[in-house]
């Protein structure tokens, strides 16, 4: 299905949300929006828990988001050691859409502040893997 290509390590391969990875390959990070009631979701999901519809459209996460918080890991769980040190973050985009991911390693510690503007970008990883991260807007 392709979903197993997402992230540094994958734990799942079967999901109806697998088109997420096809869109990453096109440089797009997308969530889903319910065609029935208009509810928006990130991470993307094929089922709407508000109106029970499974008729969703893919919507790109675009524009700038604000950094809500982050942490720089010095220790990693098994499988992620080679990436150390890396930072995880939560970023709030317009319309209360929040996205979790990593901060670009190009960002220096001193320039990271809560509330700063960030953009999302797709990143190709070795072994045909793909992910996304945040960088300074």
């Amino acid at each position: 299905m392709g979903f197993e290509r997402f992230g540094t390590v994958s734990f799942t391969s079967q999901t109806k949300a697998a088109p997420f990875v096809d869109l990453l390959d096109k440089g797009i990070v997308a969530g889903t929006k319910c065609k029935g009631c208009g509810a928006s979701y990130f991470p993307p999901r094929p089922d709407c828990s508000k109106c029970f519809s499974s008729n969703m459209e893919w919507t790109e996460v675009s524009g700038n988001g604000k950094l809500m918080s982050y942490s720089k890991l010095i220790y990693a769980p098994t499988g992620f050691e080679a990436d150390l040190p890396y930072s995880i973050a939560l970023v709030e985009f317009p319309n209360n859409l929040k996205v979790f991911g990593r901060l670009s390693k190009e960002m220096k510690d001193e320039e990271i502040t809560i509330g700063m503007d960030l953009k999302i970008e797709v990143v190709k990883l070795p072994n045909d893997r793909v992910t996304y991260q945040f960088k300074k807007a």
């Binding site: 979903f3 997402f6 992230g7 540094t8 390590v9 994958s10 734990f11 799942t12 999901t15 949300a17 990130f42 991470p43 809500m68 918080s69 982050y70 942490s71 720089k72 890991l73 010095i74 220790y75 990693a76 769980p77 098994t78 499988g79 992620f80 050691e81 990436d83 890396y86 995880i88 973050a89 939560l90 929040k98 996205v99 979790f100 991911g101 990593r102 809560i114 992910t131």
Partner: protein
Amino acid sequence: MKAAAIVGVGQTAFVRGYEGSIRELAFDAYKEAMLDAGLKAKDIDASIICSAPEYDKQRTPAGTIAEYLGLNPKPTFYVETVCSSSSSGLRVAYSLVKAGLHKTVLVLGFQKMSEISSADSQERMGRGSDVMWEAPFGTMMPAYYAMHARAHFHRYGTTEEDLALIRMKAATYGMINKKAVYQKGVTLEQVLSADVVASPLKRFDCCANADGASCLIVAHKDVAKSLSKKPVWILGVGAATAPVTMSGRESLTGLACARAAAKEAYTMAGIKPKDVDVAEVHDCFTIAEMMAYEDLGFAKPGKGKELIRAKETYIDGKIPVNVDGGLLSKGHPIGATGGSQIRTVVMQLRGEAGEMQVKDPEIGLIHNIGGVGVYGNVTILGV
């Protein structure tokens, strides 16, 4: 409304490496609780077994442990909400007893973490977060709670030193708790200069893995008084959830599931935060205790630091919190922790806490959280 009481409690020492199997570990806590209540295996009408999965090789542990404890043919089943498993177990036990299905229900929480490496332990915990959308980035508990610490610092001016003061309190009582995994004192200097694990949390801001088991025996009001000289009544139970994904959260400066669970428990018990005489809160990380002060209403949002700076959460303070060393010094054998917290409060209310005794408590509260505020469980007990 006194429908059920806790009439027996037991807990093993929490240790780095238990030299036995999970069934033997469970038995140690079980034996202590059964002797405490003066009961035999045939007197237990049902059991609930609680742990986090994938740390040992026994699939479906409830059956094996019930057999070893001598509880066949009575019903048993597994309850899991990661770090709050045994509190959830107590909630279910209370419900079964109150409904009249059973007169006595035993809650056994256990965890043997020493059979896998520390990195694998973190890997399991990382997979406790959303495996599709967040675990692929390399997440783990310290890092998630670290994000909460940074948000709390930014919004309220809380400092690393405020968190260090919490660790020092934990060590003060860990030193006098013979069942704690960490019984040494710590200095402010040590805590502040420790290695960073996930910024801004450092080594002493984090609880240690440990092996351990806890056991609680819940009895129906009709039999409670004949089983215990001082039954400890379950006055309120509250439970709530928050999204597992951080992207589903409204804010990172507190745990919404704790506030919701506390509200339900306070309402059921008919009390307010100021009525609590002694509390056990889920200090898996120092920031977790800071947020607990505020989520439980012991301090207004952002004012938790004033409580610890003024030592109000020490034994002779306004609201003694974790005066058994907390998870920070006791260690955190995942499935056993809730039962350990509940046991501490039961012993406080019975006046059996020895050197850790708070003066004449009548109402105690246990705040036990699963994952990074995914499962909130609050229990209120009274005598």
